[in-house]
């Protein structure tokens, strides 16, 4: 699975209230959530990104609350993946569970600028900055987690594998 898109750059400690403010958690429909993604920091974010674009951020992306609404809002807004120096624990788990691929790579985060076009190969962890020609390598995503992302999230993965029947 490969990603290709334009980069939107964020800093350190981007928390879940920044991604989707708590006052908008009165809905759980992902398309509604997407409308308010990053609304306080970048009010025009949702209307200016293109499907497939990629977020590149600093340390501890997704810290704060456990709300799965955060990765859902990002994914539904059209973002195809996130590269960060590090992710907060619950966000990391939630992102894979809902089928949003995320990669940790300090070098890439430090050497990719807003607006750069970037390619990502989830199988190898290879990240390419198409504007500068630089290449970076993130730790590849384990096979079973890539399968979850490729299935579209844990629900689809469980259904596809027939695990639901076994488990229930």
């Amino acid at each position: 699975m490969k990603l290709l898109g334009k980069v939107w750059k964020f800093g350190d400690n981007v928390d879940t209230d920044l991604i989707i403010p708590a006052r908008f958690l009165n809905v759980w429909d992902e398309n509604e959530l997407a409308k308010n993604c990053f609304t306080d920091l970048r009010p025009d974010f949702v209307t200016t990104i293109s499907p497939g674009d990629i977020i590149v951020a600093g340390e501890n992306f997704g810290c704060g609350s456990s709300r799965e609404h955060a990765p859902l809002a990002i994914k539904s807004a059209g973002i195809s993946g996130i590269i960060a120096k590090s992710f907060a624990r619950i966000f990391y788990r939630n992102a894979f569970n809902i089928g949003l691929p995320i990669l940790e790579c300090k070098e890439a985060s430090g050497n990719i600028e807003e607006g750069n076009r970037v390619s990502v190969d989830l199988a190898t962890g290879e990240i390419g900055n198409l504007d500068t020609g630089h290449q970076f390598f993130a730790k590849p995503i384990p096979d079973f987690m890539r399968e979850i992302v490729e299935a579209g999230g844990l629900v689809e993965y469980v259904k596809k594998k027939g695990l639901a029947e076994q488990a229930i």
Partner: protein
């Protein structure tokens, strides 16, 4: 093994686990609220589940939008209510018999030492104060747990925090955890277990221990935990008839790091914008005018917090120009606070107090949430929030009306990562210095 490793091993059916092991564990209590439950229910239905794994091991608590702030939030509460009725969820508590989830579950004896609790709320780590393993997840994980009673976890490495010495007056659990967050940083505990230990912890009340474990997640931790002792057992014995699994860390347990903290010099702590780890001792805070102070939340809405605030405010008045909002964490706490005269004392001082739970009221009334002192949570990037303990700093003398902030909101919760400060009265604002 550490206490965390022992509880995880027991719930995985293993004799031994080590940091980094991926294990499947059985869950003693699965928790969600009116924001996270609707998504979890959707997942539960999408995977084709028909019945929850055990209706007595699931708690669904309406507490985030209480009272419901609009039609949409009422729909969320309704979805959770209907699911609870349909699945005969034993621990669904309707508004009026309820409270903030992390205040309510211990109060009702639903968590005891040795339990493994997974909740779709980041502050689920609160129950570590009871010597349980508890951790927050998202709604998809919770939906699967409601169906299967199981989940997978990676065994975390543990950072041991040893608190020694004698606390200064007006220094307690909130100050210790804020001080600790200042040491570790906002991601210093990411993926890790924080074990709070040492003689100082042994002398803390349960309410103060809950405050400490609650904020472990503010360092990114998977869980925070305090080994059960006589204080824990006395608390649990009054509330549960279940038999606890009491364990402590082995002396030879492996820790990633051991941090010794001498508390004798630790002053009351204030977390400044915009992070709970951005702490300063009170003596370095300077004069800050407080527009609004809040006491409540899953961090500091317990009876001891209210008692402290009342002690400080007795025969005093909230300063003109400052709003003080107090929200007891549960119906039981509110009732007890009325019986003890605490509510009257607070009202006489000019505070407003009512029983509602988490962010709803403040969003509605002031467009501000008592949640994390993240500036984003307020919806107003100019807001400045600070976090303190509930007795605030009202022990101050001279009062000045200097302000370095355009709009300063203080809270004594986590849900406010800011702090608060009450005041005393000279009628002219307040200062945050002792």
């Amino acid at each position: 093994m550490t206490i965390t490793e022992k509880i995880l091993a027991r719930h995985a059916g293993l004799d031994h686990v080590s940091p980094g092991d991926l294990i499947e564990v059985s869950v003693d209590m699965a928790l969600a609220n009116d924001i996270t439950a609707p998504l979890a229910i959707k997942v539960f239905e999408e995977i084709g589940a028909r019945r929850v794994f055990d209706p007595y091991k699931i708690a669904l608590i309406p507490d985030h939008f209480v009272p419901n702030k609009d039609i949409e939030s009422a729909e969320q509460a309704k979805a959770m209510r209907e699911f609870s009725m349909q699945q005969k969820i034993a621990h669904y508590y309707e508004v009026g018999q309820s409270g903030i989830e992390h205040v309510l579950l211990p109060e009702k004896g639903l968590v005891i030492p040795g339990d493994l609790v997974i909740g779709a709320d980041s502050h689920t780590c609160t129950y570590g104060a009871l010597g349980a393993f508890s951790s927050g997840v998202g709604s998809t994980d919770l939906g699967l747990i409601m169906a299967t009673g199981k989940t997978w976890l990676k065994v975390p490495p543990t950072i041991k925090l040893e608190y020694e010495g004698t606390l200064l007056p007006w220094v307690g659990g909130k100050d210790l955890i804020l001080f600790t967050l200042g040491l570790l940083g906002i991601d210093g505990g990411n993926y890790r277990s924080l074990e709070f230990s040492g003689p100082v912890i042994g002398r803390l009340s349960m309410d103060q221990r809950f405050t400490m474990a609650n904020m472990a997640v503010e360092a990114g931790a998977k869980n925070g935990i305090i080994a059960p002792d006589e204080t824990t057992m006395a608390y649990v014995a009054q509330r549960s008839s279940r038999r606890p699994f009491v364990c402590t860390s082995d002396p030879e347990a492996d820790y990633e790091k051991v941090v010794k903290i001498e508390v004798g010099e630790v002053e009351p702590q204030v977390a400044f914008p915009h992070s709970p780890a951005n702490v300063r001792p009170l003596s370095e805070v300077g004069n800050v005018t407080v527009d609004q102070a809040f006491i409540g939340s899953c961090t500091n809405g317990r009876l001891e917090d209210l008692r402290q605030a009342a002690t400080v405010l007795r025969s005093r008045k909230v300063a003109k120009g400052t709003r003080l909002i107090v929200i007891p964490g549960s119906q039981l706490i509110y009732s007890q606070a009325i019986k003890e005269g605490i509510v009257q004392t607070l009202m006489d001082a000019g505070a407003v107090s009512w029983c509602g739970y988490l962010p709803s009221q403040l969003w509605t009334l002031s467009r501000w949430s008592p949640g994390r002192p993240s500036r984003w949570r307020t919806g107003n990037l100019d807001n400045e929030q600070k976090l303190y303990r509930p007795d605030g700093t009202s022990k101050k003398r001279g009062v000045s009306r200097q302000s370095s902030y355009s709009s300063c909101i203080c809270c004594f919760g986590t849900h406010c990562r800011s702090g608060g400060a009450l005041n005393e009265t000279s009628g002219e604002g307040m200062e945050i210095r002792r």
